[in-house]
Subunit: 255 residues, 2 copies
Amino acid sequence: MTSIGGCLLDLSGVLHVGNTPLPGAHEALTRLRRLPLGLRFLTNTSRTPHAVLLTQLNRMGLEIAADELLTAPLATRSALKQRGLRPYLLIHPHLRPDFAGLPRHRPNAVVVGDAGPYFSYQRLNRALRLLMDGAPLLAIAQNRYFMAADGLNLDAGAFVAGLEYAAGVQAEVIGKPAPAMFHTACAQLGLPPDQVVMVGDDVEADVLGALEAGLQAVLVRTGKFREADLYRLATRAPCHADIISFVRELETGMR
Amino acid sequence: MTSIGGCLLDLSGVLHVGNTPLPGAHEALTRLRRLPLGLRFLTNTSRTPHAVLLTQLNRMGLEIAADELLTAPLATRSALKQRGLRPYLLIHPHLRPDFAGLPRHRPNAVVVGDAGPYFSYQRLNRALRLLMDGAPLLAIAQNRYFMAADGLNLDAGAFVAGLEYAAGVQAEVIGKPAPAMFHTACAQLGLPPDQVVMVGDDVEADVLGALEAGLQAVLVRTGKFREADLYRLATRAPCHADIISFVRELETGMR
């Protein structure tokens, strides 16, 4: 790992699980902030708005500034604003604050997040009709499923795939593993991608996605990590026991 | 067109539209029945059960015997019975009679039809969990959408694609354009596929599907036919104005 100027960290599974910080997370953050490094935190979470997430993290003692936290929903909001799009939002009502104030009349874009039970047939049909009229399909993320109290639940990716098939279009994915979010973070740090390292517990979304986007990457054996991930990782990126173990090695390399 | 021993006809758009027979449909059927031909009628309709469809057709004066009518739902039922599968049915309640009597406890297969508003998040999650446990995914059909009174509506194919993506599996498609339904019809007629001709208004499901399955095929310019279909058809199969025009040419060829 050479000439690292920036470090991007996934949140859930790397620094905390639920409302509990992972062992070494506080210390890792403190030590990272002492290094000559730009820091950003990247998450695909699409049921919790940015402001609420920030409060939750700070309550856990993980002190993160608002502009250090990049979420897939806010990245989607930026893309909509930049392109002057009026979204039809297939999202969970909890996430509405992240899209407040955007024009919504006569929508000309479809945004899909983890809407859960709010994926009704009627709303999906509305999305289909807009897509057939030429509206672009923006996927906040394309995760397949997640574990909930009642068992596995379909995540946004399933409905993105269904709409893609029906309308014969291809979604523009905003969240990890799509390159856009990684590149936005690098641009904010003023660094070329190859001088930035992404650290995550999701071999596909965090590690392989970052490598694909030209960044360096590190997998940690916490959160959703499974031994089988090592087969997918192969020799393409290093794997660390946890975040603190990664930080120690980074410090050694930078001495 | 040589040595034709059997003829398969699509229904909606070829012999009728809604509850109205198409011009020439009655005469075409009468003349077809005078030829030395086996006849079968093939439809993907997945909201109307076999018995109701038969009644509707006969009310229009299109006299068709029960064993001449092959529907994708009944083909799905046969596949389930043959393989001893207990289905979890993601179908419209109207279609339930076609699956009556099959074992349903502890389902070990997922069947997807055009369930319309009965595609709830909860039911889709139930299907996902079964697929993740290894249950096969049977798609009655994989049509993309259909036109309804309120505009375009998502058809079964969208939800099949979503479940395929989420669970990382591939559906087994039973209806047209999958080869199974064409081959079942040929087997019933005791004919090799190349001696059977399929006539339809859907260039993909009827014509290209039949050609792929080794049958001969003819496109008619009625029903959902659009000029653009001719580009997809190219020189792979002939195109006729309507069903009666096809029958006249068939008679000439068989003289």
